[in-house]
Every structure is written in C-alpha cells, then in structure tokens.
C-alpha cells in the first residue's frame, strides 16, 4: 500500500509509505482531519555578517538564512503493531530519528525524537535543528509574527525575532480546529508562517556569541545526543484547552516507576 496508518479508537495518523513522512492526523471522535507535513530542518548559524558582527552562540540565536534546510526529504520507516502499541519508527539520517506512537485509549500522538551527535560538515558556524509541523491553517501570518499591539516593531531578525520560549505547550488554530504540541521541557518555538509550527530541539555551534561564555557549543560527550517527546493533540477549539491542560499535567507530573527484585516486599499500607 502507498499509505500506512496507525490508529486507536480516537486518533489515526497516516503516512506516505514512499516518503515515510506523516501525511494526515485524524480525530475520529470529533470527525476532524488535518493534512500535516512533519519533518526536521536546520538553520545555519551566523558567524556575523555585513549587518551585524553578532554570531550565533549559547545566548544568541541568529540564523544566517531565513530559509532552513531539511535534514532529509524522506525517512526510512519501520512499522510496529501490537495490541498495546502502534509505532512508526522514522530514520531521517544517521543522527536524526523519531518514533510516532499511539497507545490504546490515548487522545494524542506521541512523537519521541532523538537528535545527535550532529556531524560538523555543515556550512557556516553549525546547525540549529528544529521540528516543523505544517498545516493548511490560515491566520494572520503566524502567531505574534512581526507585530506588537501597542507599538510599531522594526523586525530586523525575521526568524530569531519571532522565536519565543515554549514552556509546556504551543498551538495553532484556524478558529475551528486546533493543533497543540505539549513539550516535555522548555524549548524555543515559533509559528513563522500561517499554519506552521516549529520547536528547536538541538544545536551545535562553532562560534562564541561574545556574551561572556567564551566557549562554543560543541558538546562532544553524552550530551551531544538529545532525546525528548512532543505530544500532539488535534481537537476542536472549544475542546482543546481541557485536553491540553489535562495532558500537560500528566507530562509534568508523570507517574514514577520503582522496581524491586523478587516477590512481594512487605510494605506497610499504613
């Protein structure tokens, strides 16, 4: 088949089996469907240019170009389907992969990403890697994009100037449907264009930004590989807040698992 899908009683995610990429998310409970493009991209960091000598570094995010490069235009995929889990494993490159996962009873898609170690044969001062979800949603040119309600903004950094801290969740909507991504940690994020949503996941930089660190972000140890999870919810706008609030609670205050060898320990219920 040219199309493969994973689904439970609430959600269906459809993939193009030729490219291995996510094509569609459906909320079957509310009969909503949303064509989605999803992939990993990277911005080339700036080492300073004619407009400013400011380089990208630990403190400063300043990409060289507004147009990012895709890590890959396709993914090698493996499909796992059992009674308790359905997963599509996507391998974008030797250093970028993810698992898109559905458990029974879940109302969200779980995207577990793993990036690194990032090879350094890139142009410029190194790559800043991010996930982008693109939908057909139409709005006013992205959330808070190049606009401030009470004063005239002269935006000199079209990408970095529109990046914001995302502490628990980010969403886009068309007034009818809402696509929400709950994060497992604080990340930089933005909606640079209508219907587009992105979250920065990793970076490896050759230059220092001159803000006191005096070291470039070239991690070579265990921290050169990063793994995290994004939880994607598609729902009606009226229903979205209740869903992402409950989900974010479960992510932040997740159950703690403790193991003990052998049979039952004699714990006192008191």
């Amino acid at each position: 088949s040219h199309v493969l899908s994973i689904e439970n009683e609430y959600i269906r995610a459809t993939f193009n089996s030729d490219t291995g990429l996510l094509m569609m998310i459906e909320n079957m409970e509310q009969t909503l469907s949303l064509p989605v493009k999803q992939g990993f991209f990277w911005y080339s960091a700036n080492i300073g240019d004619e407009e400013s000598s400011q380089a990208s570094g630990a403190y400063i995010f300043r990409p060289k170009h507004s147009k990012p490069m895709p890590v890959s235009r396709w993914a090698e995929i493996h499909l796992v389907k059992t009674a308790l889990v359905q997963e599509v494993h996507q391998n974008f490159s030797s250093w970028c992969s993810q698992v898109i996962r559905l458990y029974p009873g879940q109302r969200h898609l779980e995207l577990e990403w793993m990036v690194g170690p990032i090879p350094m044969q890139y142009w410029g001062a190194g790559p800043v890697v991010f996930r982008r979800l693109t939908t057909r949603f139409r709005g006013e040119g992205g959330h808070q994009h190049d606009y401030r309600p009470t004063w005239k903004l002269n935006q000199t950094e079209p990408v970095a100037g529109n990046y914001y801290p995302v502490n628990t969740r980010i969403y886009i909507s068309d007034g009818h449907m809402q696509l929400t991504v709950v994060t497992d940690r604080s990340q930089g994020g933005s909606s640079l264009k209508d219907g587009s949503l992105e979250l920065m996941v990793h970076r490896r930089l050759l230059a220092d930004d001159g803000r006191g660190v005096e070291e470039a972000l070239i991690e070579s140890g265990a921290a050169s590989t990063v793994r995290g999870r994004h939880f994607v919810l598609l729902s009606s706008v009226s229903d979205a807040a209740a869903r992402h609030r409950l989900l974010a609670e479960e992510v932040v205050l997740a159950p703690q698992v403790v193991l003990a060898q052998g049979g039952s320990p004699y714990y006192s219920w008191a």
């Binding site: 630990a58 796992v80 059992t82 494993h89 070291e215 159950p255 052998g262 049979g263």
Partner: protein, 172 residues
Amino acid sequence: SGDSAPLNEAMAVLQHHDAVTGTARQNVVDDYARQLAAGWGPCEVLVSNALAQLSYNKQNFSFCRELNISICPVSQKSENFQVTIYNPLGRKVKHMVRLPVSEGIFFVKDPHGKTVPSNVVMLPSSYGKTSRWDLLFSASVPALGFSMYSVAKVTVRTPQASSLSGKSRKSR
C-alpha cells in the same frame, strides 16, 4: 544519617539557565555535576532509611543511576520483579509502563493478582545490532497513590523439549 538538603541546594543552583539550557562553560558544567553527585549520596541514605522504616526490614537497597539511558539491570536480568508506580496527580491515571527487558515472554499481574495484557516489542533501532526489547503493560494508578504490579518471566523451553511435548500431545 541521610540528608536531602545538599541535593535540594544543588537543584536550586541548577535552576539557573546555564544549567537548564547548556549555556555554561565546561568547567561550570563539571561543577554542576560535582554538586549533584555530592547531593545524591546522602539522599540515597535518606531514601534507604525511609524504605527500611516502611518495610520494617533494614536491608541494602540499590539505586539505579542509568534510568536516563534506557538501561535497567533489574528488569533486564531478573526472572521476576515488582513494579511500583506512584501517581503524584490528584486524579486516577492510566499509564503505559515501558521497561527494557531481555527477550522472552512475561506474565504481568495487577495488585489484585489478576493477569493484565502485556506485549514484548523489539526496538527497530536495534535491528542489525544487539537486539533490544521493551515490555509494555497498562497500569492503573489511584489519585495521589501507588499500584504494585508483579512481573514474571516465563521459562522458555528448548526446541527439543518443545518438539517432544508437541509429539506427545499429537499421540494423545
């Protein structure tokens, strides 16, 4: 005697953005690691004391420091083990427990001794390398409480034993 104050203080220092987002120099990062390690030791003693008091049984508890990289010696090597799931939320949750195990078949029982459905999944990322397996089962945990599940590995019969038992069944 145990003490959680050093870990508490180390965690307070690590709220700085240098620790959260990695904007520190290498020697500062090394110092963060030193402070965490120094805080963790007396905290392990504190937790051991608490567990000994709860279980009326003083024993040497072991602590796993490899949880963050999906390695678990208990679940990967034990023939049977207990899984305790704590829920810090004020409402009941269903949680899919996912543990690294060795290849095999497992029986999982809930707190009432009833067998719950479980799956063992081979991780596709391990194809061609050393195979890695995950055990999955759904756990139900009460509000602000905990549930204990027991896991037992089924002893796999050798192919010879399987074929012999198959023959005897056939003859009957």
